[in-house]
């Protein structure tokens, strides 16, 4: 597998950075090399945040920012009015948007494929709060097949090792999103 680059968009407090780390850990459990890092901004709740993950079969030496991601995960669609989430995405790439609207309604300046999935509804139903960052990785696993759901579960267990109930809820939400694409 050649190097794959993922950019996650969210707002401060929505957990984009944590999602990028859990994604890296999931890739590790799949036997891959991985790298995750935030956009190193000044942290403010509600401000646009970007976080990045790289996944590869070989050790990852590159340390530059991610400019041409293979995949984008948009946790908060209200960012669309202020952030160009399609920036640099490869033509062969996929942009995954948390929305209950069909992909055809999103007119982004890209040749990449757009997929929408209602992460917030799943999170509200299962977690009871609109926390979609971890659950989004279930959708990512289903849509891209770059990581397995089993490894996402393991990574969630590791991240929430001291909050088992939180881990279970997030796993359930991730599984629900996974099954919406791969029933």
């Amino acid at each position: 597998m050649p190097l794959k680059e993922i950019r996650i968009h969210g707002r401060g407090g929505q957990g984009a950075v944590t999602a990028s780390e859990v994604l890296a850990v999931a890739a590790f459990y799949d036997g891959k090399y991985c790298q995750a890092f935030p956009s190193f901004g000044v942290e403010r709740r509600g401000a646009p945040v970007e976080a990045f993950t790289r996944i590869a079969d070989e050790p990852i030496n590159i340390r530059e920012h991610v400019y041409e991601p293979d995949y984008v995960i948009l946790l908060d669609p209200t960012l669309l009015s202020s952030v160009d989430v399609a920036r640099g995405v490869k033509d062969s790439g996929i942009i995954i948007i948390n929305s209950n609207r069909p992909a055809s309604e999103f007119r982004l300046n890209t040749k990449a494929k757009i997929e929408t999935i209602d992460m917030t509804a799943a999170a509200m139903e299962i977690i009871g709060k609109p926390f979609v960052n971890i659950a989004s990785l279930g959708a990512f696993a289903a849509i891209t097949a770059e990581i397995t759901l089993e490894s996402v579960f393991k990574a969630i267990d590791q991240e929430f090792a001291h909050k088992k109930a939180v881990a279970e809820l997030n796993k359930k939400a991730a599984e629900k999103l996974y099954k919406m694409f791969r029933g």
Partner: protein, 380 residues
């Protein structure tokens, strides 16, 4: 040995824990804070038997580092940017007293303008204060070099303090895979700390007294000789580490990448080397004979090793993540001085100041500059 995905700062802390420091004076500053936060957590959980001293400034942190080491224990601290600048008064006192303190510097630009992001201006500005400076590229290298650095500094033929320099954010806040050695392995490699001298009420001594003009120079000459001796010790400790742990970084002083038949090469320190590896690989695929020299030890400077590594080159391009304002990149000055008698063409690019990303495009342009008869400059 367990392999985990870990933030480089936490990995540093795990490396420090394995070395069992007894006193950790600290004052928080971004981006080093995660290192001492992790250590505080380890002390609180009872995983590390050490005293953390929360002080009121980096000046005090550095003073407490000196005091604790003088009292006869292994120590650790970490800082960045203006924090290191505030330690400046104490840095040469620690080295002049031959105290083998170890400190991490998560490299960050010096203000003003305010920048929390990475460049090398903090530690490179402190390079003349008698501290060994080892620079690392990856999380694994940060863990491994921390363990090596204690052994190097505490060697009785060296007895100098050491800075472990890692790029702030660009490395310190990155999660990646790393192998954390087992405690027994590190215990077998790094013996318990035995101070060469210490403050002891039973055997009173004076530390740091005045040196009159008839003896001061001899002290400095001895420090310089200890630094030169450290060139050998860094290599030996690195080789011993490589044998025991199975991981090597060149000869410990320089790491050469695809230099066998290289005509042109890049040279730099820290994370930019990782991106440069990718650039070298791509240019090699295009048939260009290019290579890469990673400098691990800025002080002491491995002059002989550099001369040897570059003898078949036509051109060497040095990337500085700092500039000596009014002259040029300080690493470039060192390299040009070392290669004074060689006829290799050398040029210099200033890059990555205040967190500016150093991209593949930048490094490709720099690496081809001498072949294409271009001068150095700024990679903006």
């Amino acid at each position: 040995m367990p392999e985990i995905v870990v933030e480089a700062s936490r990995a540093m802390a795990l490396g420090v824990k394995l070395c069992k420091p007894k006193v950790i004076p600290m004052y928080p500053i971004t981006p080093q804070t995660h290192i001492v936060e992790a250590l505080a957590e380890m002390i609180n959980n009872g995983e590390l038997q050490a005293e953390m001293i929360h002080v009121e400034s980096e000046h005090s942190a550095c003073s407490a580092l000196l005091g604790a080491q003088a009292a006869g224990v292994r120590t650790f601290s970490a800082t960045s940017s203006q924090g290191l600048a505030l330690m400046y008064e104490i840095l040469p006192i620690i080295s002049g007293n031959r105290m083998p303190c170890v400190m991490a510097v998560a490299n960050r630009a010096l203000s003003a303008p305010i920048s929390i992001w990475n460049d090398h201006s903090d530690a490179v500005s402190a390079r003349d204060q008698g501290w060994i400076q080892l620079w690392v590229e990856s999380t694994q290298e940060a863990i491994d070099t921390t363990i090596q650095l204690y052994k190097i500094c505490e060697d009785h033929s060296v007895l100098l303090p050491g800075m472990l320099c890692l790029d702030g954010f660009t490395l310190s806040h990155v999660y990646e895979r790393a192998i954390v050695p087992e405690q027994e392995q590190v215990d077998a490699f790094l013996p318990e700390y035995k101070p060469y001298i210490k403050l002891d009420p039973e055997k009173p001594i004076t530390m740091g007294p005045i040196a009159f003009p008839n003896s001061f120079m001899e002290f400095k000459k001895m420090q310089h000789e200890a630094m030169l001796q450290a060139l050998k010790v860094i290599k030996n400790v690195h080789d011993e580490f490589a044998k025991q742990f199975g991981r090597a970084y060149g000869d410990g002083l320089l790491e050469l990448y695809r230099m066998e038949d290289a005509e042109y090469a890049l040279m730099g320190m820290g994370t930019l080397v990782g991106t440069a590896r990718v650039v070298v690989d791509k240019l090699r695929e295009e048939g260009q004979k290019v290579g890469l020299i990673k400098l691990r030890s800025l002080r002491p400077f491995p002059k002989g090793e550099l001369i040897n590594a570059t003898k078949n080159l036509q051109g060497l391009t040095v990337i500085d993540r700092h500039i000596s304002l009014g002259y040029e990149g300080p690493l470039f000055s060192d390299v040009r001085s070392a290669l004074f008698e060689s006829d290799i063409r050398i040029n210099n690019f200033i890059a990555g100041l205040g967190g500016r990303d150093i991209t593949q495009k930048h490094l490709r342009k720099a690496l081809l500059s001498l072949k294409e008869r271009r001068e150095g400059g700024w990679l903006l």
